[in-house]
Structure formats: C-alpha cells, structure tokens
C-alpha cells in the first residue's frame, strides 16, 4: 500500500500527543511500519501544535509535507484552516467545531476568521463535530479528543475492537471507562 499521511493539529494543551499515541498503537497492532512526529516544549504552551503520523509498508520520513496529507484531524477550527493546504486535493478534514482565540485575536491585533467550516467545505471533504458539546454531555469535557478519535476511526481501516483495546491500554487506567464511552459516542457520530 502507499504510505498514508495523517495530521493532528490543535492548540497546545488540547491533548494531541495522547491522540497520536493511540493512533500509533492501532497502526502498530495492524503490523504497519509507522513514524510519528510531535511537538514538545515551548510550543505546547497554548501555541499551534501539529503531529504527523505516517504509516505503510516502509516509512522513512517522519513528517507530512504540504500537499500530502490524506486526513487532517483538527481540534480547533482556526487550526484546521491553518493546515488545510497540507491536504491532498481529495483530503478529509475532521474538525472539532470549537473556537479558541489566539492571543493575536485577544489583543485585537488580528480577527478570528468567519465561516471557516463553510469555506473549507468548498475544497475539502469536511466532517465537523461539536466534540466539546458531546463530551460535556458525557460529563467530562476533557475526553473531547477521544470523541474525535471515534469519528476518525469510522473512516479508517482498523477493527473497532482493536481501537477499544488500544484506547484502554493507552489512556490512564482511571479514565479508561470514560474514554471508551467517548470513543463510542464519536464512532456513532462518524
């Protein structure tokens, strides 16, 4: 198979690293070669963060470059827009329909773009989810990212039982049940 390229983007602190760990787990379970590349350190402090996931028969380069991504998983609307040009022409965007103002908007130096999802839909296959709202319904806003994984999982070629297994073994044990419920909720939405 040709190498699959996935990007997970968001705001530092939203939990993109946990998501990439879960993706890494499911890909390895399926027996593929995989490279994941993450951002640690200062950029994690509320900045724009991006994680690259590449898998296939044999993967050399750890990053996804412009025009190569098959799937863009965005934890925030503006970040979806920021990285959309990394997608292939027929690429899929799974976006958490949430707005987090960057400091440039808070201070009035810039405007938060309007109609992001509508505009992205013109060029890409966009699936927007109110993951934060769904997570609050489950009683824990922190698991919104697992809901997004659930949505993404519906569109990937891995077995559902394996997803559940990987999530169970990757998240902190105390949060396992909550995360499994969040995954199911996302899977149903996807």
């Amino acid at each position: 198979m040709t190498t699959k390229n996935i990007m997970i983007v968001g705001v530092g602190g939203q939990g993109t690293l946990l998501t990439s760990r879960i993706l890494g787990g499911i890909i390895t379970k399926a027996g593929y070669d995989v490279k994941l590349s993450e951002v640690h350190g200062m950029a994690q402090r509320g900045g724009s963060v991006v994680t690259f996931v590449r898998y296939g028969e044999s993967v050399a380069e750890p990053i996804v470059e412009e025009g190569q991504a098959d799937v863009l998983i965005a934890f925030e609307r503006l970040e979806a827009l920021r990285y959309a040009h990394f997608l292939k022409k027929d690429g899929v965007i799974i976006v958490n329909d949430q707005r987090i103002d960057p400091i440039t908007v808070v201070t009035g130096a810039a405007q938060y773009p309007e109609q992001i999802i509508e505009n992205l839909k013109k060029d890409y296959n966009v699936i927007a989810v109110d993951a934060m709202g769904e997570a609050k319904k489950l009683g824990n806003p922190k698991v919104f990212n697992t809901i997004i994984i659930g949505v993404a999982a519906k569109r990937m070629d891995f077995d559902k039982a394996q997803w559940l297994e990987v999530i169970k073994t990757t998240v902190p044990p105390k949060t396992a049940d909550m995360n499994l419920a969040a995954f199911e909720a996302g899977y149903a939405l996807g």
């Binding site: 070669d33 994941l36 640690h40 950029a43 724009s48 050399a60 380069e61 920021r82 440039t104 773009p113």
Partner: protein, 578 residues
C-alpha cells in the same frame, strides 16, 4: 527476546543506554533532550539523576567513567555550551568506562534561543559524533557509542535533532548487556590534566582521531548505497530520510559517524557519482571538509543554513519539480502563551502596571516578552537575567535600573543564576531580582530540581531553600510573596527597586499545570455588573474572551480559578465559585 515497540527517539536512546549496560546517567532538562532521562529512570539498573546544570551532569558522568562504569550525560545543545568546559578536557582524559554525551540540537528553533550545531562543538573538542536517523538507530547507535568510547579511549557525542528526538518509530528490543566494571588504576598522566600531562594526552587525541577516521571507512554505520550514479548524496541523521523519500533511486553515502569523516570512503563515493550533493541541516560541517579535499560538491549554495530540511526541498531544488499545493490560508498567528492560571501572568500584570523593565531568562516566563504583557526586554541564556541587570547598573549607574528587575525561574536560578547573584553581592550591586518560584522546571514539562524536595526517581530528598540560599550568599533583603497577592507584590517591588542595595523577591505559586494544582474553583462574570472597562483582559488570560457588546465571557473548561481577573475588576463583576 525480539519484541518490537514504538518509541520516541529519546526513549530509544534511553533503551540503548539500558541495553549497553550503563550504570550512571546525569542530565539537566532541556527540550528536545528531556525525555531521555525521564525514560532512563524507569530502568532500576541505572542510577539516574537531574543535576542543577549540564556542567555538573557532564562531570558526574566523567567521574563515573573514570571509576570504570559506563556513564551518560544528556542535554540540549545550549546545555553543551555549559558543559563544554569539562567536555574539552575530558576529550584528553578519554574514557575508562564508556562515556557518552547526548547533545540534542533544535534546527527550526521549536524551543530554543539559538540554532547552533553541536557537531561543531564536538569537532573543536575533538570528540567523535554519531548521528542516528530514526528511533531504531537511536538505540543501536547509543550502544555503539559506548563501544567506540572504550575502544578509542574517548568520550563520544550522540547528536540528535528535535525531529529525531520527538519522532516515534518501531524499535526492536534486546537484552541488557551486563558489562563488568573496568578496573580503576591511579593514572595521573591520563586523569590529571595539568600542562605536562595534557601535552602527552593531546598526542593521544590527535592519533585517536586519525585512527578512527581510517577505521570509519569500514564502519557498517557509514554506508555507501549505489543506485543511479548520476546523482549522489552524502547525508546523515534526519535529512537522510528526506533523501530516501524524495529521491529513492539516487546513490547515497549515509554517514552514521559524522566526525571524524571517513575520507577514503568519501573520495571513493565522490569518484563514482556524477553530481555530488551534501545534504546536512545547519552548518556545512561535512561540506567544508569535503571541499577542502578538492572534491567538487554542492551544499549550502542550494540548501539553507537555517531551519529544518524536507523532501519537498529536494524535489524543488534538485529535481526542479514544482510541488503543487494549495496556498496557505492567511490566518492569525497562534504563538505560545502563558497558560490560564499561570502565576507568571499575575506577577507580570503588576510589573506592567508599574512600568518595570525585565532582564529576562530562560523558561515559560520568557513569554512575558510578548503582547499583551511586554514586560521582558532581554533574554540571552540560562542565568543571564541577573548578570545582565548587574552589567547595566555598572554601565549606567544605580538610578538607571530603578525601573528594572531581573526575572528568573527557580530551576534556572539554581542552574547558573546563583553565580550571578553572588557577583551582585560581591560587587555591591543595587539591583532587584525576582525569582519566579513555581516549584518545578515548567517549560520542559515539570521536572524536579534541587529546591522541590524530590529527585528524578520521585523519591523525597532535602529541598534547598531559595530564601536561605540567598541569605547565605549575603543578600540582606530577601522576601517571599504569593504571586497572586498582587497588592503585596506591588508594594514590595516599588520599595525594593528604590532601595540602594541588592534585593531578592521570591514570588511563589506552583505552576498551574502541576497535578497538585487541579482546578478547585472557576471564575464567572456577572454581566449586569460589568462596566466593559476591559481591565480583566489586560493580562491576556486565554480563558477570557471579549463579547461583541464589550462584556466578557470566561471559558469554564480553561479557567482554573486563579482569581487574577477577579482581583483586577473594580466593580465586583467577576466572582469565584469554589
């Protein structure tokens, strides 16, 4: 055992150290090297510690090596500068037990103050350098580094970059080798570096490098792969993966050892390819040497000295391909900021109000340099806040710094700031130092240090008191204040900057992201009372958004109830719900 596991580059280095039979590891946290120690500590066979700075870490590893065990020190590239004093000389001493330094470079400046290339430091220090390309090699090369160290009687550097350190890939696990301790024998000619002995050892250093350069022509990690010979690349590390990706049919000389260079192997490779490219991030270390041997090659004419490389760079500049991509959208930047509830924001809101300039340092609090806080004027390196403030005073007189303070974190203060404070006391400075004590090493992700009362392995230990340390140095005026007590902090800062003596204000409040600081309260606005003055918004807390009508909403998933906005509101329009 041939279990495969997905590992971060740094985790794989830790695994390599474990399998190589390492017994001692010392380090100071620094992105992108921190996770090496955080993973090494999981192996009970290895003694692993956080040292107060990289010089100490390096020296701890040197001591362990001299005593006969395999030892490692790891650090980010600017830490290598701090450790360069022992490094340059231990190069002469060499190794008894294998001695390895992991230097983590940061091309692209994800989390650093410069973009220096540690390979250059190693070249000047005459220390061999190994450069892995993925997690598997990170583990394998770490083991190899210890073998080379003992075989050639030299410290060895493993050079990584952010992209390797923070990428994950599959790694085949092997058993730990139990390496018997080397016997220790008193040997002043080798271990006591005074002029007469060092002269002798310098001869060893030159011979060792010559020998290694020759042997390197047949090292398996220096691999010539001949395919289409119209184009050849000499490359190493992460850039090698871009060559494989963009030009899978090109001939490649992949160097695992980037210093010293295998000259004969390079000459042979160069003679067999029509056009030779050197593809190395940052400095032209390989290129300049290859060119000095009269070999024609293309390097920095085509590839930048700055930032990270990519496969697209090769497609465009070597293949002349136009990589078709959609234009990036014009979107507002999202730079890193202080977290909601961060105590530094509270401190900076006071300094901003007083119009104070900050001589800054290295940590999350460096973010006080940007809007809307704009408190920090200078940032150089670890510990420099205190000494630069002192330099300003000595240059311009004590009145010049009456609206300045030095701003330094607790971990950074213990790293090298304390030396600068000694200088202030000794040379009769009148400056005011704020130690922003958040009880952790924050930016690198919460590592303990000598003042937290916990070691790398999580066990309790004596906590150095910053207060008593400053007192012992001779600072008469040392105060402790809660970072969120903004009235008291304002009073203190006003009084101490006016004083014609050195003062230290320890501004305490734990990092908002520490588990012990789990949210217990939330702030909410009372829209009827809001006068839309915007005072709450001034410190730039990301949990607050201004609504179209001028009132403010506080995001309940981000707020941790620190209460800074509430204290700034003169109309009681914000309340805290426990």
């Amino acid at each position: 055992m041939s279990e495969k596991k997905i590992m971060l580059g740094n985790e794989a280095i830790a695994r390599g150290a474990y399998e190589a039979g390492v017994k001692v590891s010392s380090a100071y946290p620094g992105t992108p090297s921190t996770e090496i120690s955080e993973n090494i500590v999981k192996y009970p066979e290895i003694y692993a510690e956080w040292a107060p700075n990289e010089k100490v870490a390096m020296e701890v590893a040197i001591g362990a090596s001299i005593s006969g065990v395999r030892a490692m020190a790891s650090m980010k590239m600017v830490g290598v500068n701090v450790a360069s004093d022992p490094l340059y000389t231990v190069s002469y001493i060499g190794a008894n037990g294998g001695l390895v330094l992991v230097a983590a470079d940061d091309p692209g400046l994800y989390s650093s103050q410069n973009e220096q290339d540690s390979r250059c430091v190693a070249r000047v220090a005459q220390v061999p350098v190994l450069e892995p390309s993925d997690s598997q090699e990170a583990k394998d090369f770490t083991k190899l580094a210890f073998e080379y160290s003992e075989k050639y009687d030299t410290p060895v550097m493993i050079r990584t970059t952010t992209r390797l350190a923070h990428s994950q890939g599959p790694v085949t696990l092997e058993e730990r080798q139990e390496i018997p301790d080397k016997p220790y024998e008193r040997n002043a000619a080798k271990n006591v570096m005074m002029p007469g002995n060092a002269k002798g050892r310098h001869v060893h250093v030159e011979n060792r490098l010559k020998q290694m350069a020759e042997d390197a022509c047949s090292f398996e990690i220096n691999q010539a792969i001949y395919k289409d010979t119209s184009i050849g690349f000499i490359t190493s590390g992460i850039p090698y993966t871009y060559v494989v990706e963009a030009m899978p049919n090109a001939s490649v000389l992949k160097l695992g050892l980037v210093h010293p260079l295998p000259r004969k192997l390079i000459e042979e490779f160069a003679s067999k390819v029509d056009k030779l490219y050197i593809f190395e991030e940052l400095e032209p270390l390989i290129e300049e040497q290859v060119k000095s041997w009269g070999i024609e090659c293309i390097g920095k004419e085509l590839f930048t000295l700055q930032g990270e490389y990519s496969a697209n760079m090769l497609r465009e500049r070597v293949l002349g391909m136009k990589v078709e991509t959609a234009a990036p959208a014009q979107v507002p930047a999202r730079p890193p900021i202080l977290c909601p509830g961060c105590p530094h924001r509270s401190t900076y809101s006071v300094l901003k109000k007083l119009g104070i300039h900050g001589a800054g340092d290295i940590g999350c609090y460096t973010l006080g340099a940007v809007a809307p806080l704009n408190v920090i004027d200078t940032t150089v390196c670890m510990g420099a806040s205190i000494s630069t403030l002192h330099g300003m005073e000595k240059a311009k007189g004590k009145d010049y710094i009456k609206n300045w303070v030095a701003l330094i974190g607790d971990s950074t203060f213990l790293h090298t700031g304390v030396n600068s404070l000694m200088n202030m006391v000794y040379n009769q400075s009148t400056g005011t130092v704020l130690i922003l004590d958040n009880s952790t090493t924050g930016m690198t992700g919460h590592q303990d240090h000598a003042a937290t009362g916990k070691m790398l392995n999580g066990k309790e230990t004596k906590a150095i008191s910053l207060y008593h340390l400053c007192k012992a140095i001779g600072v008469e005026h040392v105060y402790e204040v809660d970072a969120f007590d903004i009235d008291e902090l304002e009073k203190l800062v006003k009084r101490e900057v006016a004083r014609d003596e050195v003062s230290v204000i320890i501004v305490c409040a734990p990092c908002a992201l520490l588990k012990s600081q789990a949210t217990k309260a939330k702030c909410v606005t009372i829209p009827e009372k809001c006068k839309k003055c915007g005072m709450c918004l001034v410190p730039g807390c990301p949990a607050l958004t201004k609504n179209e009508d001028g009132t403010v909403t506080i995001d309940d998933t981000m707020c941790n109830g620190c209460g800074l906005c509430m204290k700034r509101c003169k109309f009681d329009a914000i309340e805290r719900i426990e």
